[in-house]
């Protein structure tokens, strides 16, 4: 296959990887705080975070278009301040991937931080260690299996994102065509061989990612578990 034909693979990997890193950091930070704080409106805020999970991707795409479009609140500000456009660029695919995969990471991280005895962290605090130190030496390793599940789900969701991406980034070959997009438009054009090629590739990619992460996790981080 020519170099241009591999673009969907490159774009999908880039989009899914960057979005996973972003939702990993943001998801963990927010989930850690939410798991330990009680405040007015917490349930409403949580429902808002999880909304992309239950909404149709087209609704999420519409919302993003509304925000990041030429006349959208953020889109207009970005154009005015930095002469920067999100719609019909690969950044649109990235934002769509972040928004749809965030709830999966958030949900996994909240469950992960809530599953172990809080006194384990308290014990570490009484031993004179800072909250930052306790987070990295106690909370994070204990939550790791759950966080890893979040990473796998977020990556897979980012890799497979289609509806919201199509609405925000559009289909521009060589610019915004991720693998799911390439499959859809190949089928539309009756090019079943091309569609099959991408289907096989994305299945291998998804399987390999999950397999590797599980293997790595078992080897590195779960040695203390029975």
């Amino acid at each position: 296959m020519s170099e241009t034909n591999l673009f969907p693979l490159w774009l999908s990997l880039r989009t899914a990887s960057i979005s996973t890193v972003i939702v990993f950091i943001v998801g963990i930070a927010i989930a850690y705080i939410m798991a330990r704080r009680t405040f007015f409106g917490k349930n409403a805020l949580e429902a808002f975070f999880l909304l992309p999970l239950v909404l149709p991707p087209t609704v999420v795409g519409f919302g993003l278009l509304y925000l990041f479009g030429k006349n959208g609140l953020i889109g207009r500000a970005l154009a005015y301040l930095f002469d920067f456009q999100i719609v019909f660029t690969w950044y649109g695919a990235l934002i769509a991937a972040i928004v749809v995969s965030f709830p999966l990471m958030y949900q996994s991280a909240t469950a992960a931080f809530g599953q172990y005895d809080k006194n384990i962290e308290n014990a570490a605090l009484t031993m004179g260690k800072s909250r930052w130190h306790v987070f990295w030496t106690i909370s994070f390793p204990l939550a790791w299996p759950g966080l890893l599940a979040g990473v796998v789900l977020a990556f897979a969701r980012g890799l497979g994102e289609f509806g919201a991406t199509l609405m925000l980034a559009g289909y521009i070959p060589g610019q915004t065509d991720t693998i799911p997009m390439a499959i859809y438009f190949a089928v539309e054009a009756g090019d079943m061989d091309k569609a099959k090629y991408w289907v096989i590739l994305i299945v291998i990619l998804g399987f390999a990612a999950i397999y590797w992460l599980n293997w790595w996790s078992t080897k590195r981080m779960m040695k203390h578990r029975r």
Partner: protein, 210 residues
């Protein structure tokens, strides 16, 4: 010396207690949900108070209900009810986490007979060994006061007897106030020099009645 005079609104009653401990073991007894653990958490700095003061060796932890010293700087050893050992760290890593002196920690491990378990993980050791690990971990920070939340409740009778002797030995060496929460009357009589009973949010010195 430990001086506690605290007030905190709990879900069904107001905890309003005063107690003092010299370099001795004092026991807190009372029914479940009476606020015993809350008192320990208040001393450790793990819960907020509405009113009151906590002073350890002339150092004011809490004044007028306001925390003056964060949990990390209180130097309070705490053995939690279920031990709260770090499951992903070995016995030695648990003890070394907050220890001040390696030699002191190793000596204590030998004294209570857990030195040979240093490379084991908490899920690989028995209940009595977990209890001793938690106790040595708390002592390894060389605390100014030690809090024990029903540390012997899950042990069999024989292990309990050994554990009592070890606690008394450690206390004899390390003369600090120790607050022991316990349901077991025999246990508190054997270990504590003073016994406080908590009921309806109030604390009563019942040392002479037992």
């Amino acid at each position: 010396m430990l001086q506690v005079a605290i007030c905190k609104q709990l879900s069904h009653f107001t905890l309003d207690v005063e107690l003092t401990a010299n370099n001795e073991i004092i026991a807190l007894a009372g029914p479940s949900g009476s606020g015993k653990t809350t008192i320990l958490e208040a001393i450790a700095g793990l819960t907020k108070l509405d009113e009151g003061s906590i002073v350890v060796h002339h150092r004011s932890f809490v004044a007028k209900g306001k925390s003056l010293v964060p949990v990390q700087q209180r130097n309070v050893g705490y053995v939690f009810q279920d031990y709260a050992l770090f499951p992903h760290k070995t016995v030695w890593e648990n003890i070394a986490y907050g220890m001040k002196r390696t030699s002191f920690a190793k000596q204590m491990m030998e004294d209570v007979g857990i030195h040979h378990l240093k490379n084991q993980y908490p899920h690989e050791i028995s209940g009595g060994e977990k209890q001793r690990t938690a106790l040595i971990r708390a002592f390894a920070i060389e605390p100014d006061v030690l809090l024990l939340d029903e540390p012997f409740a899950a042990l069999d009778e024989q292990t309990k007897t050994t554990s009592y002797a070890q606690l008394l030995q450690l206390h004899e060496k390390w003369q600090i106030p120790i607050v022991l929460v316990s349901h077991n009357q025999e246990e508190v009589k054997h270990l504590a020099s003073r016994i406080y009973m908590i009921q309806n949010g109030k604390v009563y010195d019942v040392s002479d009645n037992t």
